[in-house]
Amino acid sequence: MTELVALVVEDEPEVRDALVRDLAPLAGSVRIEAAEDAEDAAAVVEEVAEAGDVLGLVLADHRLPGRSGVDLLVELEEDPAHRGVTRKVLVTGQADHADTIRAVNEAGLDHYIAKPWDPEELLAVTRASLTDAVLDAGLDPLAYVADLDGPRLLEAYGRRSSDR
């Protein structure tokens, strides 16, 4: 069965754990993966692609050891396997102006969440982004009605049924 995956990229263990925990309400239908740097994130992206799963969202910290979160998002944007589906959100406490502009212009950044984050906002953004991804990837909307944006998914389901 095709799984929907959200990837959290954050180098500090406590922060990473907290993010994953805050996304736990979605865990019933969304697989939450975590990576500590861009390298490991690329490994997750590859695994997801090999398994035929759908990478719906990447939540990346700006500051990472090695390549930055912005670099990672730009690479994702350039990869045709994910373009058009994977939503990109930058979670950062310290992004300078130039980097943020680059993320928006080159990575097609969908959202920007400042640290410290509000868990409600994080969940809302994640839900909206994943809902978009579900629709764009053509996944079964009904499987995600409980955890994601139910009304929109149902509406899309209805439209799809009537199109047939």
Binding site: R21, G28, E33, A34, D40, V44, R67, S68
Partner: protein, 676 residues
């Protein structure tokens, strides 16, 4: 025959001045000559003529320049025009050191001298002698009477020795005749042609020709020094003093009737005024004079030309000096501006330092409160939750768990999911929940889910959901693990705040310079601390650590940490955030052979220009003008000071792609006991 009466006439309108003049003249003449007086031009003329009528010899007339009735110049001119008084010496009494409005009389030969007012008796005596001498040259019988006054009788009037003089061509060109000789010959020729025109004696400071005057003739300078100057740009500019030559008024000879320069006597000067008309007459009557005058003029002009060349060179030199001074000035202004900017920068850094110290201090309280809260929470949780229960064990395990890399964790989680699926216990979502609850293997999962042994009546389709009791247990265990992880997270975050604050305080304390030397300073740990302090800037950097086991040293840990921070920050500034840093800590020996620790910080930046390399340790040298970054701007000079306080050496070598800062610290600083 009785010797003739000699008379001296003093013409002065001011009663006091006249009385003083008469008193001085009578004292000097002591009855050898009569002193007559007059008070204005008409009276003066009358008294002078009366002297002739009386059969007396009028030897000298001293007339006040500003005499009522037309001035002394006019009086003397009138007397001069009288053939019976031609030989009488005529002197102007003046307080104005200029010949400006009397030069007509001068040019006519009507004035033989200028007596400056106020005079001294000795000055008057010289004048008397100078004028009585020429006058008495026609009366040799009287010379004895005035013997003591006749200091210097001018050379006997000589007539040109026609035979001795070379022809005009030789006069003009003969190099054997020197300038002095030519000048003397010219004066003799002039005297011969004009019947010894009168000499004029003037005091220093007297203006012979005023700039802009109509010049009707020349002055031949016989003795003394005159200066030529020109008024321009609000001041007088001296053009010639030693280069004048004996002929003054040269330009008037070329047809410019207005005086181009001011001519002023610098010393006592004896001149012959020669009006152009007289000069023309002399040249016509004495053919050799032309050659002599030409030669004098040529050498005078040559002298002035050389002077002009010298002036030009002087102007060039001054211009160069001026340009150099201007450059120097602009450099000084630039240096001042730079120093000012650095002062502002330092003041800003000091403020930032105080602010940072304040923030660090204030952070201690909430950080300590947080740490205590985490401890209390853990204590309270261990009371509420039975440590032996599954959730209690999960709590303790999560609290103590060593952090695991994400890749490792993912693999382990996938293995757990596979095992669960294999065992028919549940799917990936359940595996994730179990993982989050601290369940790491199938046995633990089994124990938690407490499923009945295999072969139960459950259908395969329901296999992924635990029974009600298991779900409740799982939730409790999940909560326990979450609580444990939260306590651990608080503790670690607090610890990080604490270490950042401690690093910051150590850094600031080092900057204040009053940190004591302590033993057992771990150099490598200090470098690591600096790395941690700069962690926020090192995300994109590659750091290669090559730390040997080194002995601890005696030193100031905070100050040393500042050195490492400075060096690292410099490397980052120079090479950019993606710098490849290599850090070496190794044992070494000092030049004196004492045990030491060496720290090398190598970056792959563009390198330091050789010209700047010598200056990087100079006080306040920085290539980062106006930029305030943490710890930077205090700079390498401070680092050197700190290293040297430790008896160490800091050095740098640099080339493109490789800059090495090396710090060598003796294990025991030679002056540790004396240093602060």
């Amino acid at each position: 025959m009785t010797p003739p009466v000699v008379r001296v006439l003093a013409v002065e309108g001011d009663d006091d001045v006249r009385a003083q003049l008469v008193a001085d003249l009578e004292a000097l003449l002591d009855g050898r000559a009569e002193v007559e007086v007059a008070t204005d031009v008409d009276q003066g003329t009358a008294r002078a003529r009366a002297a002739v009528g009386d059969g007396a010899l009028l030897a000298l007339v001293i007339a006040e320049r500003t005499l009522p009735g037309g001035g002394g110049g006019a009086l003397l001119q009138a007397l001069h025009d009288d053939p019976t008084l031609r030989a009488t010496r005529k002197v102007l009494l003046t307080s104005r050191p200029s010949l400006h409005d009397v030069d007509d009389a001068l040019k006519q030969g009507a004035v033989h001298g200028m007596l400056n007012r106020p005079w001294t008796r000795s000055g008057l005596r010289e004048h008397l002698g100078a004028h009585l001498g020429p006058f008495l040259s026609d009366h040799p019988d009287l010379q004895a009477r005035f013997g003591d006054l006749l200091a210097a009788v001018p050379p006997e009037e000589r007539h040109l020795d026609e035979e001795a003089l070379p022809d005009p061509g030789a006069l003009l060109l003969d190099p054997a005749i020197d300038d002095r000789q030519v000048e003397r010959l010219m004066v003799e020729a002039l005297d011969a042609a004009l019947g010894r025109p009168p000499r004029l004696r003037v005091a220093p400071g007297t203006v012979l020709i005023e700039e802009g005057d109509d010049v009707g003739g020349i002055y031949v300078v016989l003795d003394g020094e005159v200066a030529l100057s020109r008024h321009a740009d609000g001041g007088a500019h001296l053009l010639h003093s030693r280069s004048t030559g004996p002929i003054i008024g040269l330009l008037s000879l070329t047809g410019h009737s207005r005086a181009f320069l001011q001519c002023r006597a610098v010393s006592d000067v004896l001149v012959i005024p020669v009006p152009l008309e007289q000069l023309g007459r002399a040249l016509a009557s004495e053919p050799r004079l032309s050659a002599l005058l030409t030669r004098v003029l040529v050498s005078s002009l040559a002298r002035r030309l050389r002077r002009a060349d010298e002036l030009q060179l002087e102007v060039d030199r001054l211009n160069r000096a001026l340009a150099a001074e201007r450059d120097e000035l602009s450099r000084t202004v630039g240096a001042l501006a730079e120093a000012d900017a650095q002062l502002v920068n330092q003041a800003r850094l000091a403020t930032i330092g105080e602010l940072a110290a304040g923030v660090a201090h204030e952070l201690n309280n909430p950080s300590a409160a947080l740490q205590r809260a985490a401890d209390h929470l853990a204590e309270a949780l261990s009371t509420i939750v039975d440590p032996a229960s599954p959730e209690g064990r999960a709590l303790e395990a999560a609290r103590m768990e060593a952090p695991m890399g994400t890749a490792e964790a993912r693999a382990a989680r996938q293995a757990l999911a596979a095992a669960l699926r294999e065992a028919g216990l549940g799917d990936r979502a359940l595996a994730d929940r179990l993982w989050g609850a601290g369940v790491r293997d199938l046995a633990a999962a089994r124990a938690l889910l407490q499923r009945p042994p295999a072969g139960s009546d459950r259908t395969a389709g329901r296999a992924s959901a635990p029974d009600g009791g298991a779900e409740a247990r799982l939730q409790r265990v999940e909560a326990g693990a979450r609580a444990g992880a939260a306590v651990r997270g608080i503790g670690q975050a607090t610890e990080r705040i604490g270490s950042l604050v401690a690093g910051l305080r150590a850094y600031l304390r080092g900057g204040s310079g009053d940190e004591p030397f302590t033993e057992d300073v771990d150099v490598a740990a200090g470098v690591d601390d600096a790395l941690r302090l700069l962690g926020h800037r090192l995300h994109d950097a590659t750091v290669e650590r090559d730390f040997d086991e080194v002995p601890t040293i005696t030193g100031r840990p905070g100050a040393l940490q500042q050195v490492w921070t400075n060096l690292l920050a410099n490397a980052l500034d120079a090479a950019g955030p993606e710098v490849h840093l290599r850090l070496h800590v190794a044992t070494a020996t000092t030049a004196a052979g004492a045990p030491a620790v060496s720290v090398s910080i190598i970056d792959d930046g563009p390198g330091i220009e050789p010209a700047l390399l010598e200056r990087v340790f100079e006080p306040r040298f920085t290539t980062k003008h106006g930029q305030v970054t943490f710890g930077v701007g205090l700079g390498l000079s401070l680092s050197r000071r700190i290293v040297e306080e430790h008896g160490g050496i800091i050095s740098v070598t640099s080339g493109p792609g490789r800059t090495v800062f090396t710090v060598l610290l003796p294990v025991t600083p030679p002056a540790a006991s004396e240093a602060r």
